[in-house]
């Protein structure tokens, strides 16, 4: 396979991904996630605080929070982080709840 054909295949793949992604979607903002407005009920606030703590400790330890991402991939991100950062199951659940209040 020549370099041109390889580049073409990669370009097609990337273009397809972008087109599929182009549908309207709810965005989660990492910075926003760290500054959630006060929740209306206490248990939810506790979840958020706990999720914020885990986010700061486990995710921000290595990298800056991405500025925004679709809520449709939040579960995949958390599972990826569970493996990479060796999150406990409880931390994984809290983090997922934090990203999807």
């Amino acid at each position: 396979m020549s370099l041109k054909r390889l580049s073409f295949a990669a370009a097609v793949l990337m273009s397809s991904s972008v087109l599929l992604w182009a549908a309207p979607q709810h965005q989660i903002t990492g910075e926003q996630a760290a500054k959630k407005p006060a929740a209306t009920i206490q248990p939810s606030q506790q979840h958020q605080d706990e999720g914020d703590r885990i986010f700061q400790q486990q995710c921000s330890r290595c990298h800056n929070a991405p500025e925004g991402f679709s809520s449709r991939i939040s579960g995949t991100i958390v599972r990826h982080m569970r493996v990479r950062a060796s999150l406990s199951k409880q931390d994984e659940e809290q983090l997922l709840h934090f990203l999807n209040p």
Binding site: M1, S2, L3, L6, A9, A10, L13, S17, V18, L20, W21, A23, Q25, E31, R53, Q56, Q57, S60, R61, C62, H63, N64, P66, E67, F69, S70, S71, R72, I73, S74, G75, T76, I77, R79, H80, R82, V83, R84, A85, S86, L87, S88, K89, Q90, D91, L96, N100
Partner: protein
Amino acid sequence: MAPPLLNVSISKLAWSVRRIIFAMVMLCTVQYGIAQDTPFLSGGVGFFTDTNGGKTTYYPILEPLLAAPIGSHFLVESRAALLETFAPSADGVYDHTHFIGLTYLQGDYIVSPHVTVVGGSFLIPFGTYNERLSPIWISNFQDGPLIASLGLMSTGTGTGGMVRGSAISRHKYSIDYATYFSSRVGNQQFASERSSGGRTSLYLPEQRIEIGLSYDRLLQGTHENFYGMHVWWEPKDTAFRLRSEFARGHHAQGYWVEADYRTQAFGGLDSWIGRIEPLIRVQQTFRRDTLFSDGLPLANTQRVDLGLDYNLPHNTRILTSFERQFSDHKDHNIWETGIVYRFLFPTWKGK
């Protein structure tokens, strides 16, 4: 700029690329029942330069990362590197080379709350740089530490299996672990050496301190042991990070200490001042003998890296640094500049 892990020819990549594209298409056809579990494509695209001895080399690079969950316990993830290098030759004419290689391709199966089994080609869990800091959208400096190759068995990847997870997780402390076995693989795309080892870390959330130990052993040719230790401290409610790592191999050893800081005093991290990130990294290597098999400098070396990064909006970073290296062979300066954009989006329109 860290050298690419795999140098492969295009012709030998063809079959692997076809298989990867086929696998990605197959993954995209999986019906994802949970809307949050859509596969994502992430990574970084960057343009770097380094000037050493008056000669400037240019590195456009793309590092895509794919993660695709299957069911509720399985995850397939992979990262690749596509690197072009434009370097001046002795007569001043620029030579052009390119590298394309898979950094890793692994399947993760979450067996229980404390155990995840990883199979395939994975990043060797030794120290912190290889697994955590090597992506171009994460690292503060363009090039890795001088000791980055110690304990990574030449390629940085193992082909085989790994067991990892959170051993204990409490509010006051947590302990995680990773242990692996890799077989020897000659395939250029998944090249690895026969080795075994692991890492364990203790994390104290209140103090924001992490202490970890690593060990691995080369199990082919001359069997060699590698030992590592890392200490990270990131004080709460500050944007200050102090990271350090020590590694000792059979022929050489060394350490690095890196600190970075962003002020929140002038409008927070998103103000134009808060986006400025000064950095410093100090590192030393020591040769234990003159056998050169580990990628470290041939002579004892000291190096100071002074950096100034700027975190632009929209996941973009500008990286600049000046490095002064002292060694018995020759002292020299390295100037580096670069820009990196990090992307992250779903690959498939979920339900």
